[in-house]
Symmetry: C2
Subunit: 209 residues, 2 copies
Amino acid sequence: MLQNGIAKSVLNRLPLYLEYLIDLKEIEGYTGYVSATKIATDLELGEVQVRKDLAFVCKSGKPKLGYNLDALTERIKEYLGCNEPKKAIIVGLGKLGSALFGYEGFEKYGIHIVEGFDLENKEYEHIPIKKFNKENLKEFLKNESIDIGIICVPKNVAQEVCDILVEMNISAIWNFAPIRLKVPKNVLVQNENLAYSLSVISSIITNKQ
Amino acid sequence: MLQNGIAKSVLNRLPLYLEYLIDLKEIEGYTGYVSATKIATDLELGEVQVRKDLAFVCKSGKPKLGYNLDALTERIKEYLGCNEPKKAIIVGLGKLGSALFGYEGFEKYGIHIVEGFDLENKEYEHIPIKKFNKENLKEFLKNESIDIGIICVPKNVAQEVCDILVEMNISAIWNFAPIRLKVPKNVLVQNENLAYSLSVISSIITNKQ
């Protein structure tokens, strides 16, 4: 898939560069310029790949100096939309949903999980979670502008939840239920299945033996 | 990356086929044969892709009938190593580590998370979690045969944990810390960064606008 001419594989590496550049400044106290060679060595990537990847987000570095650290960081943040705050909700506050609800790592990317919904009456660190039912969720989405819906419900209710989100004009869904959701073409679905990832590792071990 | 001639993209889709075939039998009561056309339609994949993917794990289906449902399910399970039980441990029982520790979806793929380690004295649903320190972890790994190490600690200690796992001959690591671990060539590292996934969604929304 291409977004503005950028391959998804490149897009997937941008957060890695960002994390690295932030650490370089904040932890290692690096300032000024950083070369593609240094980035490539530290991240164990090919230098050509680094140059190509970064060319999508900024002009090439200065000869013999490299990229301006602050400018490059800022450009990647901009590209990743970190500077344009986005609101997300989670439906399904089981173990995984709760872990995501409490995870602070998303804020760095400008994403705020503002509300959680669950079938059961729950609270999360003393914050009451909204009761999930069709009316409640629709009512909430009518009054709040939400960018991303995170689905963490069991797979037998995932499509139903998805349909409500789509009906209420949520155009990006992060789906943790092990099911392929049916959505209109203009809705983006990013599927995440942790069991799949682990099974891929397992398969590689099995086939190595 | 290729494993036994199979592309990682194909490998990543095998759990999807497996989940689908199991549901087809258990939920929809389907028996006998299933055609590539039906699989492709239901999963919204191209028929050519389905045939190619499945060719990696089994002989082609019978003309006009398709694949034997049970045989195909079994072959994918075999390929994914579901029939060869594997043991995993988790180091770092924060929110995400705890969610993984309690997740039952891994068992289907033959993966049993047998122990958790944390820096703090914790328990998980009344099961005490082992205290993490270098000696404890090494002692445990000396006596138990563990296939997969799952790293859920903060990034400043992730490399240290990784080094202990490698030293104790763990050859597959599932890493949730936002850091590129340095490992010998024979060690497999699968990186998982949920913030990255979410930032990719965010970026796609930003660049669409």
